[in-house]
Symmetry: D2
Subunit: 127 residues, 4 copies
């Protein structure tokens, strides 16, 4: 997250928001944020959302995610909004919408669904 | 790729290999390479594999990918091997295996499938 | 759809609902609707939702879908609610929630995202 | 499987083959096998492959799958070849290739990856 320059801007039970200000290091040659960085913040938002509803002392691991990339991630700010779809004892499903902000307007640029596995201890905790 | 410290170590028509030497900047707190970095090199390997079979003057865009994360990406080197499964006029399917090398042995740590869309011009070319 | 005993119960632009009354032929041995039947109605709902926003004379083909199965599809009625997330010229993303109804209550049992490709002519139209 | 007219034609540890002879009931209007039926046999092949490596007394449940549909499933026989990619204590990853046979030649029509969860008892066993 630090490498990407991303910040956790909102956390409430089951909902998390991560924001990124586009910089050259994470852009491809046309100024869009690279799909890899978009995926990384989307996956992190899903992971933190899952973690936010876990009992203390539990961690989570992403076991799989799928992301649909809908439009170039171009804007003054890129925001990943993760929320828990269903929290289970072993597996939790979370979904993240990634939006690009431009002139006060938001545009959906990516949609991710992720399966997170609960683990004992904090060893696999997302960071 | 530069931000991640990843290198394109092999390219042949339909097959591409990207390697990464784990560094603290892309690791989570236990020394494993972060899932975001694993996904980024896996997606890039799929994209370059698709690009390697495109006619000159065409680019590609990732429209979606799914990754299954099977084991922690811990090792002396992380290698993403992308190959084209089926090249189409509009859409190409590629698959990447991500392996962690340790003591001369390889272990599968992730499996990705990606759909790439062919575009006119090189504007959307993976980088 | 006929083989599954499923009905199209609602269509509006970008939104479609398909319902299924569980029968022995599509159940696994414990009376739950089989994952294959759940996937089939979920995919069909996504496809019809995409088709509902296409110009006349266009058809659609599913190029990929992912489904997360969250709970057994047990109930008096299984409903798949498909909606368009983003309609594009070539590709459209749709999402379907599958709910199981029991005693007037709904429970989310599956979540699907699908990419649909627009095609000229109605040859690939979902049915 | 019975409803679809599919047969389990091969089982060995970690590998399973399910075959389907196209019939009008499972075809869409142009004679191709419906995507729903293709997905169902692909998911079943992945599930049986996972089950074939489980200790006695364990069952499995599909928690998610993704399928890429590459070409129309048209042919004299449709074969789904499932294999275990990685068997874990809680989660197993399997992959299925679906091939259409025509004039003695095979063509890849779909590729599926599925996560299966091990369960105690045979209650969730695939059928």
């Amino acid at each position: 997250m630090q490498t990407l320059g991303a910040d956790l801007v909102h956390v409430s039970p089951g909902q998390v928001e991560i924001a990124l200000t586009p910089r050259p290091e994470i852009a491809q040659q046309h100024g869009f944020v690279h799909a890899g960085a978009v995926s990384a913040i989307a996956d992190s938002a899903a992971g933190y959302a899952a973690l936010s509803v876990m009992p203390a002392g539990r961690g989570i691991l992403t076991t799989e995610f799928k992301i649909n990339l809908l439009a170039p991630a171009a804007g003054t700010r890129i925001v990943a909004r993760g929320k828990v779809v269903k929290a289970g004892r072993t597996l939790t499903l979370a979904q993240t919408e990634v939006l690009a902000e431009n002139d006060g307007k938001e545009r959906l640029v990516a949609l991710l669904t992720a399966t997170l596995m609960t683990i004992e201890g904090r060893d696999g905790i997302v960071d």
